[in-house]
């Protein structure tokens, strides 16, 4: 049963990734594109974790943590640049 649930979750998050990509292309403002990128990072972390469940290996944790950190820093840097005109003042 867990195989089907895992496939369902993977399909859901993959579909979400495509919808995020749509918003990334469509987005009227830059802030919408930044939000779409942030959501893409979240979906990719979920896909990595689910792939780790599927393979049964424990090495996917580091990749998920790296994605979380770089996603957060990237989004905050984008927002800071849009707000203030420079990333580090």
């Amino acid at each position: 049963m867990i195989t089907y649930a895992l496939a369902f979750a993977l399909v859901c998050f993959g579909l979400g990734l495509i919808l995020n990509l749509w918003r990334l292309i469509l987005g009227p403002t830059v802030a919408d594109r930044v939000l779409a990128l942030d959501t893409m990072v979240v979906n990719v972390i979920a896909i990595i974790v689910l792939y780790g469940i599927q393979t049964g290996l424990g090495i996917n944790f580091e990749a998920a943590m790296l994605f979380a950190m770089t996603g957060f820093v990237g989004t905050v840097a984008f927002c800071k640049f849009l707000l203030r005109g420079s990333v580090i003042e």
């Binding site: 049963m1 867990i2 089907y4 649930a5 895992l6 369902f8 979750a9 993977l10 399909v11 859901c12 998050f13 579909l15 979400g16 990734l17 919808l19 995020n20 749509w22 918003r23 009227p28 403002t29 802030a31 919408d32 930044v34 939000l35 779409a36 942030d38 959501t39 979240v42 979906n43 972390i45 979920a46 974790v49 689910l50 780790g52 469940i53 049964g56 424990g58 944790f61 998920a64 943590m65 979380a68 950190m69 957060f72 989004t75 905050v76 927002c79 800071k80 849009l82 707000l83």
Partner: protein, 130 residues
Amino acid sequence: MTFALDIILSILLVVGGLFGLTGSYGLIRLKDRMQRLHAPTKASTVGLGTALLASMFHGLMIGTGFSWQEILVMVFIFVTAPITANYLSKVHLQSRHFDGQIPKTGVSRDWSTFDDAPEGPEPQLPQRDS
């Protein structure tokens, strides 16, 4: 035991997938820029949280024990998601401010996000005579 674990894992995975899909669908579906900020936060808390919980419980199922390291990712995401949302809403507010869509505050000061008053001169230490 294994069957109960199987049920729990399946429920967690299905709920996480549904919430993740809902968050990404809301990003497309909602009209306003500020509304669009609302949907992906559900995907990042419930969707990713249940996926990480399923990963933690899966360690019990395959016999490697409860894997605690996913808590790190969960805590990091739960702490940083509101900060990201706050920054993005500030960007939205700033861009709408220039369109003149924000109502007036009714007092002499502007909204605190836009209150970018120029700083005064540097405070000087009092002069001491020798």
